[in-house]
């Protein structure tokens, strides 16, 4: 089967998130107690679910010393459990702060956009379960989302929007 690049990404609508953490629960359940979505709380006012953007030129992949993190044929950044040595380089490298440290398992959790579901034409777990409709899974193109450049080398599309 030919592997086709998937341009769909998780889009977060900041105006809709009520902070119910159901995205975190769905992710943790699907990934054996390691949630890949984190919930940032800013001064008890704003709530910001943090999820992987699957960058065009990912810094985490470049920082990884063992090739545990790879950008695959679908365009997703995914991690191989067996190659990860738990050095946390990717945690520090990620400019968006979406990779969490899970000391118990000695490796780092990493969002793979629920590739098992996406390849079967389903949407990722966190998007499906979102109670308020803040998360959506949409095709992003040059026209729909502007590019974010950090340090002149990392590029990803802006996947946070407001109404």
């Amino acid at each position: 089967m030919e592997k086709k690049k998937i341009n769909k990404r998780i889009i977060l609508d900041l105006d809709l998130c009520i902070g119910c953490q159901s995205c975190v629960a769905a992710c943790a359940l699907g990934y054996h107690e390691q949630a890949n979505v984190m919930l940032g709380r800013i001064g008890e006012i704003a709530i910001l679910p943090l999820h992987c953007r699957h960058c065009e030129k990912p810094a985490c992949v470049e920082a990884c010393p063992t090739e545990a993190l790879q950008k695959d044929e679908y365009g997703f950044v995914h991690r191989s459990n067996l190659l990860c040595i738990g050095c946390h380089s990717c945690v520090f490298a990620c400019p968006f702060g979406v990779i969490s440290i899970d000391l118990m398992k000695h490796v780092t959790a990493k969002c793979d956009l629920c590739i098992d579901r996406v390849l079967n034409e389903k949407i990722p777990r966190c998007v499906a379960t979102c109670t308020s409709g803040a998360l959506s899974f949409e095709e992003i193109t040059e026209a729909s989302a502007e590019e974010v450049w950090i340090g002149g080398r990392i590029s990803s599309r802006a996947i946070i929007r407001r109404m």
Partner: protein
Amino acid sequence: MKEPRNTICFFCSLGCGLTVNRGEDRVYYQPIATNELEYQLDNPINRGSLCGKCNYLFELLHHPKRIPGPRILKSSGYRDVHWENVTTDIIEQIAALVEKNGAESVGIMLSPYLTIEETEQAIDLAQIIGTPHIDYCALEDEPILAKIRQGAFFQKRLPSIEEIDGMHTSFIVGDVFGVSPVLSRHFLKAKYDQRANKMVVLESSNSNTGWFADLHLRANPGTEVMVLTGILILLLEQIGKQQAIPWKAAVKHVLDSIEIEDICKLTGVSLDQIQSAAGLMMREKPSIVTLVSGFGVYDRADLVTELCQALSDATDSYFLPVFTGANSLGMHEAIANFKPAAGMTASQMIEAAEKGSLKVLLNFGVDIIRTFPGTRATNAIKKLDFLLSTSIFPNDTTGFSHVILPAAPWVEKTGTTINMLGNSLKLDAVLSPPGHIKTTGGILSILIDALHQKGFDKKQIEPPEAAAQETEEDIANHFIEIKDLIKDNSAVESNQKMLVPNNDFSHSGDGAITQYLSWSQRMCPEPIAMIAEGENGVHISGMVRISSSENKITIPVKVSRRAEKGMIIAPVHFPQIRSLLQWEMLPQWGYLNIKPAKVSVEFL
């Protein structure tokens, strides 16, 4: 081969749809490998959304703490027994006690998370024993349901949950996003899609619902009745010229004698805010009035319900009550149609047990000690001659029970339920109960069969008189009560604070189950109170001793923007917090009025 099964979530009264791709059950605790949750993206109620608790429902199967089989209290402690032996034992004890004290000394208490079929079976059991005392135990929903059943106002029911998306004014009383997070999908869709939409929220604990409000009426805790009265006074003044409201003449002279300035002073809500709320309800149609039940949130939940209904009747809005108990509505109807006037409510049963007139309590799924505020329930059930408890997990009440029977949670049973909209929904067993565990329906039929064999026959219990609908005169009397409330309201003294109970996303709903989910334990492992910065010189977290007239507890406290001066917010699902709440019995209704407590706070 995985077999997809559809069912509905039973943690709150909304009834979200979900699918389980069921694999073969295994004997060890590895639920995710064999079963997979699938989201119903085309379900009209939730469009696939599920809250955090529901995502974790597989943990219920083979949970290490589940009660595995029947247990009976012997002099040496609890002993595991077989179903046949325990049934004989129960029936003998019930028969002996009925013979000694009469059938009236038996009470049956049901959890609001049973299905309609199970409720009907429990009613059969009551008829066979010959007792009129049967009730469901949802203390926060009871006053609202009683009022909805008897109220004199016209109730415009919401035809479907998606109707909320098109509302121009959403008037919400209570923390709706906390109790039923999935409803946020519809309220927020209305807020952003309908450009004219305004969300008016009346609640004091400054929850997430309040944060999204366009107009947030932050009333002092327990003064919701007064704010609603203020809005109604202004509304009736404006409406009077345009349309006729049948009950207006009866209440006008009472409302005229209430000073709106007094209301503003007592509630802490400004006249401007009350005016804007009344104006929005008046002008922006279609509109909806949503009342969210809450434990210890309102002083006089029955009057709050009555005022919300009056508001929706006067403005021709939809009325949506949001219950905590998943099947409170269905069970209330079923029991009210059976129960004669002599039948006691759940609160009255506890009172009777305290006095010693109730000797036997058959408790299907209620953690009585955790549910009742204060320490009265503990003393009451210690006095019982025989207490039977069915439960999924061990709890405080099972610790005092003579017989403990293992029950299955909602994912493991089939039946019908009625959700907050009044629609009947079908529950389907997506997993099968492990080992010796039976559903409550199964347990009830075993008991009924055994009683038949023992010679008990179904007795005809006098059916209830047709429930008297309230008249305009009753409404006027209730408004006089409100007027008196405003008159006698005693202010909080300077060294006191109000304890405001709040809901936690991860625990709201069926606390008996959710407290055991690892998700809920991780999200909110211990009760932490919230207090405003700078109060009593507090700037960082620490320990605090809170004492009310009911109890005294020591818990950690953190400084939060959510709390305001004179207020201490704490999560209500913890029994420690519930033990602080103040309550009084309302004799005319037979339920408890549980209200925010006045507490004194001492920093350690």
